[in-house]
């Protein structure tokens, strides 16, 4: 520690910190603009000018190394003169209207104007000829006429990231910040890490509008894959580890947040990829495929050595439903020391993984092996063929009950409430496919009503079962279908006909069998007070005949009032964020609460439920795993040739995985960059006098 005096206050400076940092550390605010905690000092903005006793001239605090006994004054008229004129000069070419800037109220320059009381006034306004050079793209939005040439972006790109695509350029007798040749960033070696955005003190370099989720803390939002994943898996880290061939470490990272990783590697709805920032440039990273490759090539399973199982608590928990939600809840509750019994109505565990998702998308061996893995870590009872009609018996016998029965009951629109022998719910047909039933006659015509993933599972399953003609009728236009784009693409390739913007106005029947459907083209539709309200196109009526009608129009909880849980009007159970229901000791999670959602949402919810139940049972609720020790990250990215034009790979080989993961923009590095604190920050001592001018 070095002792010095700043503005009459005795201050201790940490070895290695410069005078500006020492003052800021001590809570003494000294204005600064070009200085940034993560960048080296250059002393070019002159705002941190101070007087040091014994020096003839004022100096820049960011360039001074504190010495023992140093006496520093930060607010003398001489230094305030330099500081204020420097700020006036910076403002001379800067736009005067702050309110039209996206950085309004989030701008270091604006904060400094407030601190010093300096406005645009005394000096001539300067019109820079180079002010409008700079091309925006989908990731980085440039308004270089707001640039104050502090040079932070140039430094961040070069010394922090080792990329160096931003420079001080010269044209028309002016220096300005830009790329060589003023080309767009995608034509440079830019890695799109957005460090330049992060360090820009003004609104010159910003994130493209709408790039990140709103209403989320910035540190989370700027890593969109991790933020988009319902389980908030540390995606950037596991991608990198997989790319480096460290599959066991990669698996350890996602095992910290989820169960069933291989199943997810097959079927995850990958919200991460939808949100991936690389997708704004070309295509998102194949995160799901990388995860699958990592699991399939992990020969060590080192995470298993680091699992914990707490001693028996003496509490008993019943989990109703053995799908991804129920099994995940059971897994963590069992590890917390509770005796868990899973009650599954079907002959096998796995829920929708086993009885919903078609086998061509997710082989049964994968599901079985992943259930076994959970039981290897911590044994718990799975009782199959055990249908629960009423939880009253369970609440008497167990200390807590987790209801995770999924959404097993098909819900039909009113037009389809007839009891026809050849009309089947989508969810039931999927189950029939997976249990080997002959549900679809060879050579028949199958019509599926619905536009979600279940509809596609049914249609593609029917095609595989030998149906000659398979068509999907969907209310939504092609651009607004609920199913994944990949499903749509593959279904069309398999010869399935997709009819968009169409409504079924009547069902024609003969002897209790559906023979065909009257259709009409839909101009628009919405769900009003009386249910679905349609505006149809007059004269567009037509008829299709069918041998089998599949209704993939939504699913409900499938239990009645006798079950012992209140059912909402939409047929689903009610539970709060902590998965607690109106009945004490009874919790609910997964599709039974959310309606048909995704495997990853079920898993993320079940983790929350397990934590909540553990707390209910007197535990601490902590279910976090620590399977991989984070290594210190090198913030440097360096250059990858043709980075912007690297295309998505199939991730079938280690080399392809390495190539794919090298496309990552490393958004995760951004939160490591410190945010500059404004003078109003509570870290600084209150100012009695804002300015002596």
């Amino acid at each position: 520690m070095i002792n010095l005096v700043i503005d009459g206050r005795i201050v201790e400076a940490v070895e290695g910190r410069n005078l500006l940092e020492a003052a800021l550390d001590a809570g003494i605010y000294v204005p600064h603009l070009c200085a940034h905690p993560d960048l080296s000092s250059r002393g070019s903005c002159k705002l941190c000018t101070v007087e040091v006793e014994g020096n003839a001239k004022p100096v820049q605090a960011c360039e001074v190394t504190p010495t023992e006994g140093m006496v520093v004054r930060t607010k003398t008229p001489a230094v305030e003169k330099i500081r204020n004129v420097a700020l006036e000069l910076v403002l001379a070419p800067h736009p005067k209207d702050c309110t039209s800037c996206r950085a309004y109220l989030n701008c270091e320059l604006q904060a400094l104007m407030q601190y010093t009381g300096i406005t645009h006034s005394r000096l001539r306004s300067i019109d820079k000829k180079t002010a409008n050079i700079g091309v925006s793209d989908n990731v980085v939005s440039k308004e270089m006429f707001r640039c104050i040439q502090c040079g932070r972006c140039v430094q961040a790109c070069d010394e922090l990231r080792g990329v160096g695509v931003l420079h001080f350029n010269h044209a028309q007798g002016e220096a300005y910040v830009g790329t060589w040749g003023d080309v767009s960033l995608s034509e440079t070696d830019c890695r799109f890490c957005s460090a330049c955005v992060e360090v820009c003190p003004t609104g010159a370099i910003m994130d493209a509008p709408g790039l990140f989720a709103s209403g989320v803390p910035k540190a989370l939002a700027v890593v969109p894959c991790r933020n988009g994943c319902p389980a908030h898996t540390d995606i950037p880290l596991y991608l990198q580890l997989a790319g480096d061939g460290r599959y066991a470490d990669s698996v350890s990272v996602f095992r910290e947040k989820l169960t069933f990783p291989l199943s997810l590697g097959y079927v995850c709805s990958h919200a991460c990829e939808s949100d991936c920032k690389r997708g704004k440039i070309d295509f998102p990273i194949s995160i799901r495929e990388v995860k699958r490759f990592a699991v399939e090539n992990d020969t060590e399973e080192s995470w298993k050595q680091r699992t914990w199982v707490e001693p028996a608590s003496g509490k008993r928990v019943a989990v109703v439903g053995g799908g991804p939600a129920g099994l995940t809840g059971a897994f963590y509750l069992a590890r917390k020391g509770h005796a868990v019994t899973v009650l599954e109505r079907m002959p096998k565990a796995g829920g929708m993984l086993t009885y919903g998702i078609p086998k061509y998308r997710l082989p049964q061996e994968v599901v079985d092996a992943e259930v076994d893995t959970l039981l290897q870590v911590v044994p718990f009872d799975i009782v199959t063929d055990s249908e629960i009609d009423d939880i009253a018996g369970l609440t008497a016998e167990y200390d807590a009950v987790l209801v995770a029965v999924g959404a097993q009951a098909g819900r039909r629109p009113t037009t389809f409430r007839g009891s026809w022998a050849n009309a089947v719910n989508g969810v039931d047909l999927c189950r029939d496919f997976n249990t080997g039933q002959d549900a679809v006659a060879s050579g028949s015509t199958v019509t599926v009503y619905g536009g979600g993933n279940v509809a596609f599972d049914c249609a593609r399953g029917a095609k595989r079962a030998g149906a000659r003609t398979v068509r999907i009728l969907c209310l939504e236009p092609a651009s607004a279908m609920l199913a994944d784009a990949a499903e749509l693409r593959e279904a069309i390739a398999e010869g399935i006909e997709i009819i968009n913007s169409v409504a079924v106005t009547a069902v024609t029947e003969v002897d209790g069998l559906v023979t065909g459907l009257d259709l009409q083209r839909v101009q628009s539709f919405h769900f009003g007070a009386n249910g679905l309200e349609l505006t149809c196109e007059p004269g567009s009526e037509h008829h299709v005949s069918t041998d089998l009608l599949v209704l993939a129009t939504g699913q409900g909880a499938g239990f009645g009032q006798g079950f012992g849980l209140p059912v909402r009007p939409n047929g689903l159970a009610a539970a709060d964020f902590d998965c607690a229901t109106a009945v004490s000791g009874v919790f609910a999670v997964g599709d039974v609460v959310t309606g048909t959602k995704t495997v990853i949402e079920a898993i993320a919810g079940a983790r929350r439920a397990a934590s909540s139940i553990d707390r209910f049972l007197g535990g601490n609720g902590n279910i976090e795993d620590h399977f991989f020790d984070r290594e210190e990250r090198d913030p440097s990215l360096g250059i990858i040739p043709d980075f912007s034009s690297m295309t998505r790979t199939d991730c079938r080989t280690a080399a392809a995985v390495a190539d794919e993961t090298s496309r990552c923009l490393h958004c995760e590095l951004r939160p490591d960059i410190e945010t500059v604190k404004y003078w109003t920050d509570s870290a600084y001592l209150p100012l009695k006098v804002v300015s002596t001018r």
Partner: protein
């Protein structure tokens, strides 16, 4: 110095010269412009200080100077000289300060009376064609980018003062050196082109008259 930029990039002036042969304001403008144009762009005083001073000086040479500008130029130059990151900007600012110190009266003349002893600053002069010297070569009419000079074959050419931007292209174009600058004393010239030799030569010397500046 943080930056290597050298003062060799600056134009060389005989700083000790009389204001009649070297306008201190125009020389200062040249120094500041050259410094601003060559600035590396990183340092605030080198980049913005020199450009700001150049902007003010440009206003002064065009007659748009304000009384407080001299004080502002001195303040900015002093801060630039003290805080610049390179020899280029510091030297340029130092030379401007010297030009102010040595020729303060001339600066005051520029600001208060819009006068420039050397007739360098555009505000201080008009361009005219001496009717006694003009031989009607037509070189000036071709050279003028503003088409401000009229007069056909055999006619004394006349400059339309309102259109003239004082670029001085005609001065170097005239083979007989008939085109000259006039300060506050304005010579008598024909209002429109007249045949060569027809304009009263008896007035050539005595005809110079002092014209009140417009708006003065």
């Amino acid at each position: 110095m943080r930056c290597e930029l050298s003062a060799d990039l600056l134009p060389t002036f005989d700083l000790g010269a009389d204001p009649v042969s070297l306008c201190p304001v125009s020389a200062s403008l040249e120094l500041m412009r050259r410094s601003a144009e060559n600035a590396c762009g990183r340092e605030v005083f080198c980049r913005e200080g020199t450009r700001q001073v150049a902007e003010i000086l440009s206003d002064i040479t065009a007659g748009r100077g304000q009384s407080e500008d001299l004080e502002l130029v001195e303040e900015l130059c002093q801060l630039t000289a003290d805080n610049a990151g390179c020899e280029l900007a510091a030297t340029a600012a130092g030379r401007v300060l010297r030009l102010i110190r040595d020729h303060r009266d001339e600066w005051e003349q520029h600001l208060r009376r819009k006068r420039c002893a050397s007739l360098t600053c555009v505000m201080s002069f008009t361009v005219y064609i001496d009717p006694a010297t003009c031989t009607a070569t037509g070189a000036c009419t071709t050279a003028c980018p503003e088409q401000a000079i009229t007069g056909g074959y055999g006619e004394i050419h006349v400059i339309d003062v309102d259109r003239c931007t004082k670029c001085l292209a005609c001065l170097s174009a005239c083979p007989t050196d008939a085109i000259r600058k006039a300060g506050p004393i304005k010579p008598r010239v024909p209002m429109a082109p007249v045949p060569v030799g027809s304009f009263g030569s008896e007035d050539a010397e005595g005809g110079m008259r002092r014209r009140r500046r417009r708006g003065e």
